[in-house]
Symmetry: C2
Subunit: 336 residues, 2 copies
DNA sequence: ACCCCCCATGCAAGCGATTGCATCGCGCTG
DNA sequence: CAGCGCGATGCAATCGCTTGCATGGGGGGT
């Protein structure tokens, strides 16, 4: 209720001075500042954000674009980013875009963000060039988490290395017919993690002198259900498969379900390795390449704020991963 | 870049008419409206939200308060709510408050929301009376999901019945020494789900002629780690326990881990039942009382918008639950 | 002592919409 | 044919804060 004028009147100064005092600008004497602060607190004054946005052109809000919130990676990135931003006084506007609406996929329309955010964080959302261009066209800082175009600031893993490490783990155990469960390709821009993890998979196979076989690669939609369906399909077509590398833990869990559906034991009949370090991986005994999604979200938020403040930032940040060996991988059974 | 004035000039009308035409107000002739729409589209005009907020006093934004986003229930509610709100042209401002900061728990400070949202959705956040009062004091519609004070609009389960059903399932299987893993009580207001689920647990025991035993109830912090620790503790103190009712699936999964740590088999040595219908429940074979969190979030959002629009709303919505029997529960082993 | 400079403060013009009220035509009615 | 009423439109105040510029007063340098 109390506006800046009330505070000004109570403190016996002009609104300009109140504004300066409250924001800690210089050129306000200490006694005056204290008096203003005291009156503002007493009256419970809270500045109206739309008024100050209108006057300054900035919103102290950042937009978080993501396809989902109820998936391990996304939820953790969002939580990390939200925490960092809130601690620094920024609000978080959440926008979800379901990338699975394949037919008429809802395109990312940046006009919604215009005049509404000081910067945008794109979390694991594969965008085509037009979408990126229009986002850049907002003229506000932009950062990507998980994956992003080469010329934009991105916080991510080395996905090629990740795919290679997962596949190499299976190769080291002695597997030779290794399936790969990944994301849907036609919705995926050239720079999305599934593509790079697949590349790592291919490189590892090649390094072992094995030929890449398209019949071993299936699309798992990046969730449990998709991982299950596609692995079911794979196991039916290729009963010779002894191991599967899934590009996410959720798909890996789907793969385990598929194996179980078929009466196969994990890891005796089928080894499964995922990527993420999902909270429930231990429960399931899932071997995985673990990453810290929360930290990536947190750091990406800080990076974005640096950009907003005009500070120099690295063009990208690469995070470490760690192979976590659990019960879902083992050497293949000797051929009878 | 283009402001309302540019559109007005291009269409040869006043800004007032542009404003009316764009918002579909009456008293604008059809030819004029069409012309304005065309010019606005051509110029790529997007209204500045802060300006219209300042003028109207509303923000077309709603605040989503929640303790976490990376937990099954919360992530799904948030996703459902976000989808409903976006479809109706509302923005979502995400605020997380970690309730676990026990020492100096960050209190919910509604001043952050003042002048910033048209309504607030509180998701599974146990608040004390002061906090609720200050939220109400914002003078904006308020709705709760998961749990809420008796005099506020709430979307939720019948938690007492849920606790009763879970416990009854164990009783029906023949269990008589049933542990209970629930939330931390000192952070929990009188109306939080753990309290009511515990009450259901107690009622079911009583119905079976069993006395409630405080030594059987432990605090699991509502997550996997907490469920694991507290169940470990419980099993050590009370080796006679043959079944556990956990107030969430995540705690139930922790309980399974605890059993495994101790070399107990589930369900042969220990039956476990949870609440939620977590996506990964099937993988783990977890028996649970399932609910639809996404739908609750979706409907709560619609309810809140009705309140904003002055439409009459029910004072609360109660959702159905369903017992899903899986491998984690079975009759107790006959005593040797 | 005199000036100059700088610091603290106030004035008032925006920022970009919304909206109550006045105005302007026009067709209709008596 | 004059007057009336109503739909369409414009004018200008307003929302609450920020900020460039003007002002005034005090202290320090010479």
């Amino acid at each position: 209720m109390a506006g800046i004028d009330d505070v000004a009147q109570a403190a016996g100064v002009s609104t300009a001075t109140v504004s300066r005092a409250l924001r800690g600008l210089p050129n306000v004497s200490e006694p005056t500042r204290l008096r203003v602060l005291a009156e503002a607190a007493r009256l419970g004054y809270v500045p109206t954000p739309s008024a100050s946005s209108l006057a300054t052109g900035r919103t102290r809000t950042i937009g978080l674009l993501t396809p989902w919130v109820n998936r391990w990676f996304f939820a953790n990135v969002i939580e990390g980013a939200e925490r960092a931003l809130r601690d620094l006084g920024y609000d978080v506007l959440l926008y979800t875009f379901d990338v699975r609406r394949t037919a008429a996929r809802r395109r990312v329309d940046p006009s919604v963000l215009r005049h509404r955010v000081d910067g945008t964080l794109v979390v694991g959302l594969p965008l085509d060039d037009d979408e990126v261009r229009s986002l850049v066209g907002l003229g506000r800082p932009l950062a990507f988490v998980g994956s992003g175009p080469a010329d934009q600031v991105t916080v991510r893993l080395d996905d090629v290395a990740t795919g290679r490490a997962a596949t190499q783990h299976l190769l080291d155990l002695g597997h030779r017919v290794i399936g790969h469960v990944t994301g849907v390709p036609d919705l995926v821009s050239s720079w999305s993690p599934p593509v790079e993890r697949s590349q790592g998979y291919a490189e590892a196979l090649e390094g072992a002198g094995l030929a890449r076989d398209p019949g071993l690669e299936v699309n798992g939609d990046f969730d449990v259900a998709g991982g299950r369906e596609s692995t079911t399909d794979l196991l039916r077509r290729r009963p010779d498969v002894t191991a599967v590398f899934a590009a996410s833990d959720e798909m890996a869990m789907g793969a385990i379900l598929a194996a179980r559906d078929r009466g196969l034991r994990v890891p005796e009949d089928l080894s499964v390795v995922g990527v993420d370090g999902h909270d429930l991986g231990e429960l399931v005994g899932l071997t995985t390449i673990a990453q810290d999604a929360y930290q990536q979200g947190f750091d990406a938020a800080l990076l974005l704020l640096d950009m907003i403040n005009g500070a120099p930032v690295p063009e990208s940040l690469t995070y470490p991963t760690e192979l976590v060996r659990r019960r879902s991988t083992a050497p293949p059974r000797p051929v009878a």
